[in-house]
Structure formats: structure tokens, C-alpha cells
């Protein structure tokens, strides 16, 4: 059973009105367990909407979405999703540790187990020293790492990330990417990752999905055959540059059409 199976998925906003928008159209996509899929494309190509369709934050207008063989609604109720948005969306009245515990609390885990689990996650993102800080005392990159720890705290089988590093500077961004790969190697989570950065998509992914706007549809899928585990040396690998070019040309074809 694949982790993700989309067939003919479409999303139309304001159907029938003169403001009708075909945000996503005829998308077929599947992913195996443990894959890292990046979705890249110009703004307005429907990549965020696609992620929201997978995560049951908006229902599809057509087609079917299956997550671990289930409907997205079922998968959400089964707590299969960890989500990370562009802003960290930490609750400002909770300290770092309590923010990571939030999903565990909602799931009814007992306090001792919750605290142990959250502490382990903070260690994973190397923020255990900041457990008692409030979010506003942390930098943007650290806040985003807390958000990742929180998303992973209940061991979801699929991680949905919408430009999670979009607001970070280049240096922090690259460090976060390496960190994300390390975390994924430790947890084996399937990741769907929306980005508009070509090097980010290539460095992280097993496959890069290129989308074009109006209507939002997949134009090309690039397999990323970079050796594992990837490191900073990967960014200087000849193959890395070739793949950058492949993705860039795929995107250019989108813009020219």
C-alpha cells in the first residue's frame, strides 16, 4: 500500500462564478513510504492547495486522494499527519516544551509519557536546552525547529510541509535542510514538501514534482538520484548541479508555455 495515491485530483474555487479559479487540475501522484517528495512551481500554481487537499484542510472538487489507503478525513482523525507551515504557529503562552506536548495532550497521553516524548523530540531538533523558553525568546529558525519537533512528536506517518524554511536566511535554511534530512533518516517519515527554491527541492528530495499554474497541474517529475546520506558535500557534487539544471529547465518550460 502506498503512502500517498492521488488520481485525477482537482480543486475549483468559487465554481460557476466569474471568480472561478481552477487551482488544481487532473493531478496524478503517488508516493511510497519513506519517500521525500518536493512540489515546486511559480506562485499561484496550486502547490499549497495540493498540500491542503492531501492534509484534509480543503476537500477536492474531483478525483480521489488516498493516504495510507484511507480518505484524508480518516487519515486526519487517525492522526497520520504532521504539519509544518511557513510560519511556526507556536502558541505564545506555552513554553517550548509545552508547545511540543500540545498534540500529545490533545491525544490524551498521560503527563509523564508526554513530557518524555516531547523532551526526546527537542533533543532530536537539538533544542533541549531551550525547553523552558517562550517562543518569542527564540530566533525564527529555532521556532521553526520547535514546529518540526511538535509535528513529529506523535510520530505521524506523513509529514506535510508548506515552505517551512521560506522565511529563513540562506545560511539557516541550509542548516535546517541538513537537519530535516537527519531527522527523516531517524524517523523514516514520508514527507511532502512545498517550496519555491530549486536547490532546496533537489537537495532534500527523492523526487521533485514541477507544477504549472492556470490550471494547477503537474508538468514534470524529476527523479533525484543523489547518493544517500546527503551532506554539505552533496551541494558541490557534479550530479547536484545537473539536477538543478533539469529542474530549472522544467520550470522554464512552465513559464514559456
Amino acid at each position: 500500500m502506498s503512502a500517498l495515491a492521488l488520481r485525477g485530483v482537482g480543486k475549483v474555487f468559487n465554481p460557476g462564478s466569474d471568480q472561478e479559479v481552477r487551482a488544481v487540475h487532473g493531478v496524478d501522484l503517488s508516493a511510497e513510504r519513506g519517500e521525500f517528495i518536493s512540489v515546486i512551481g511559480p506562485s499561484g500554481c496550486g502547490k499549497s492547495t495540493l498540500l491542503r487537499l492531501i492534509g484534509d484542510l480543503t476537500p477536492p472538487s474531483s478525483g480521489t486522494v488516498l493516504v495510507n489507503g484511507k480518505t484524508p478525513a480518516r487519515a486526519r482523525l487517525d492522526r497520520d499527519y504532521g504539519m509544518v507551515f511557513q510560519s511556526a504557529t507556536l502558541l505564545e503562552w506555552r513554553r517550548v516544551q509545552a508547545n511540543v506536548e500540545l498534540p500529545l495532550e490533545i491525544m490524551g497521553m498521560d503527563a509523564a509519557e508526554r513530557s518524555r516524548q516531547a523532551a526526546a523530540m527537542l533533543e532530536l531538533v537539538q533544542l533541549d536546552r531551550f525547553a523552558n523558553h517562550y517562543p518569542w525568546q527564540l530566533s525564527g529558525g529555532m521556532q521553526q525547529r520547535v514546529a518540526i519537533a511538535r509535528a513529529l512528536a506523535f510520530k505521524p506517518s506523513i509529514l506535510l510541509m508548506d515552505e517551512p524554511f521560506g522565511a529563513l536566511d540562506e545560511m539557516t535554511r541550509e542548516r535546517m535542510q541538513s537537519e530535516l534530512l537527519r531527522i527523516r533518516a531517524e524517523t523514516g517519515t514520508t514527507v511532502v514538501f512545498v517550496t519555491h527554491s530549486i536547490p532546496e527541492a533537489v537537495f532534500l528530495s527523492t523526487r521533485v514534482v514541477i507544477m504549472s499554474p492556470r490550471p494547477g497541474t503537474i508538468t514534470e517529475v524529476v527523479d533525484i538520484d543523489l547518493p544517500e546520506p546527503r551532506s554539505d558535500d552533496t551541494r558541490e557534487d557534479q550530479r547536484f548541479f545537473e539536477l538543478l539544471t533539469d529542474v530549472r529547465e522544467g520550470l522554464r518550460a512552465v513559464e514559456d508555455s
Partner: protein, 262 residues
């Protein structure tokens, strides 16, 4: 203990306010003496202060009566407002049904109910005052809290949805903590309102051991030093009640921008 430079820094910081306070008192005292202003127009600060010493027990009894009524009304109105606001945030029909009337009521001078309250609860009953204060406090607290409960970010709601959190969990773990700063800013306004409500209600009769009655009676007897002493006391109680709310606020929401220290 606070270390000394820190303490001095705080005093230094407050010097302008202290200066204006002391200066104001001196100017007031000087004007009364130089222009020989009569006591029924404006008594001198020293005369008012002297009255505090002679009338201590009467003033304190009246003050305690009014303060406890205001506090009871504030608590009653506040609690009712919180429950109503939570219901309004939870159920759309409560919100759509009740909120327009609450907003309308909040724009009316509710304190006009004061003379009516006497005929409902009897002249001597403290319930009339508590009722007026509770109604006065209820609407601003309720409306502000509802506003806070509903002003969470869409992305925060989606985060809760991604955890398959129920409506109650979302209300309790996301919306209510998010709304506590709104609640406290409303309570600070309500603290002042509660004393206004209690005193205005007391203007219309009732026990002598209340600031409102004390002020009207003494003014009627042309004992303006006593009336002014009661006015000063009412102000002090108002400031005290406000600061109690601020102290609780600091304890409850140390994380909020308006409170955070480091």
C-alpha cells in the same frame, strides 16, 4: 531584595510623576490660601487630609461597604460574562442571537438602571447595587472576550484540526488562552466601571454606610471636607481595584507582550 541601583533607577523613572503630584498639591493648597477659596467650592488638600484623621471610622466603613459591593458585582458580572462568551464562541446560534443585543446594550448608559434597582431589590438591600454593577460590567467583558476567542489565526485552527482536536479542546487549549489578554484589558475597564456603578446607585438612597450616600449627605450638610475626603477615598479604591487586576494579569499571562519583562 532588589539591589540598590535597580531601586534608584525605578525612583528616577517615576520622578516626573511624583513631581507633578507634589507640585499639583502645592499649587492647589496655594490657590485656596491666596484667593481665599471657600470650602464649599474647593477645600484645601490639608483640610481634606485633616478630615481623614477625624472621620476615619465613618469613611472606612462607607468605603468598605461600597468597595465590597463593587467587587461582588464585578465578580458576578465577570463570571457571567465569561460563561456567556464561551457559549457564544462555541455555538454559532448563541453568537448570532445574543451578540447584536449585547453590542446595543453596551452602547446604552446602563447606569440609568440605578434608581429602578431600588424598586426591584428594596432600598436597603445590597443586591440592587450588585445587580447594577454586574450588568454594567457584563457587556464590555463579554463582548471583548468573544472578540478575543474569535480572533485566533486560521492557521492555528488548522493546526488543531490536523491533530483531530475536538471543538472543546480547541476552545480550551487555543481560543481561551489566546483571549486572556482581551479578558484582562476588559476587566481593567470593568474595575473602574464597577465603582462608578456602585457609587451612582448609592446616590439614589440606601444605607448611610456607603460612599455614594456619604457624599450626597455631607454635601447636603455643607460639610465639603468630608465629601471631598470620600471622593479621594473612592478614587483610591478605584486605583486599588485596577491594580489588583493588573497584578493578577501579570501572574496569569506573563507571556503576553504587554506584560513580558525579559
Amino acid at each position: 531584595m532588589t539591589d540598590r541601583p535597580e531601586f534608584l533607577r525605578k525612583v528616577y523613572f517615576r520622578l516626573p510623576a511624583i513631581g507633578i503630584f507634589v507640585g499639583g498639591l502645592i499649587v492647589w493648597e496655594g490657590m485656596v490660601r491666596i484667593f481665599d477659596i471657600k470650602g464649599f467650592i474647593l477645600p484645601a488638600p490639608t483640610a481634606i487630609a485633616a478630615t481623614f484623621a477625624t472621620e476615619t471610622s465613618d469613611l472606612l466603613a462607607a468605603g468598605a461597604g461600597t468597595f465590597s459591593t463593587a467587587l461582588a458585582g464585578l465578580l458576578l458580572g465577570g463570571f457571567l460574562a465569561v460563561f456567556t462568551a464561551l457559549a457564544a464562541a462555541r455555538w454559532r446560534f448563541v453568537r448570532d442571537g445574543a451578540l447584536p443585543f449585547a453590542i446595543a446594550a453596551n452602547s446604552t448608559p446602563i447606569v440609568v438602571l440605578a434608581p429602578i434597582a431600588n424598586s426591584w431589590f428594596g432600598l436597603r438591600s445590597p443586591l440592587g447595587s450588585i445587580f447594577v454593577v454586574a450588568i454594567l460590567v457584563f457587556f464590555p467583558v463579554m463582548i471583548n472576550l468573544v472578540r478575543g476567542l474569535l480572533s485566533v489565526e486560521a492557521s492555528e485552527i488548522e493546526l488543531m484540526e490536523s491533530y483531530a482536536a475536538g471543538r472543546l479542546a480547541t476552545l480550551w487549549k487555543l481560543q481561551f488562552p489566546h483571549a486572556t489578554p482581551y479578558l484582562f484589558s476588559a476587566l481593567k475597564v470593568a474595575a473602574a466601571l464597577s465603582l462608578i456603578g456602585a457609587i451612582v446607585k448609592e446616590f439614589f438612597g440606601g444605607s448611610q454606610e456607603r460612599l455614594g450616600q456619604y457624599i450626597t449627605t455631607k454635601a447636603g450638610l455643607l460639610q465639603f471636607e468630608e465629601a471631598w475626603a470620600a471622593i479621594v477615598l473612592a478614587s483610591l479604591f478605584g486605583i486599588a481595584l485596577y491594580n489588583i487586576v493588573v497584578l493578577i494579569e501579570r501572574r496569569v499571562i506573563p507571556w503576553h507582550v504587554s506584560v513580558r519583562s525579559a
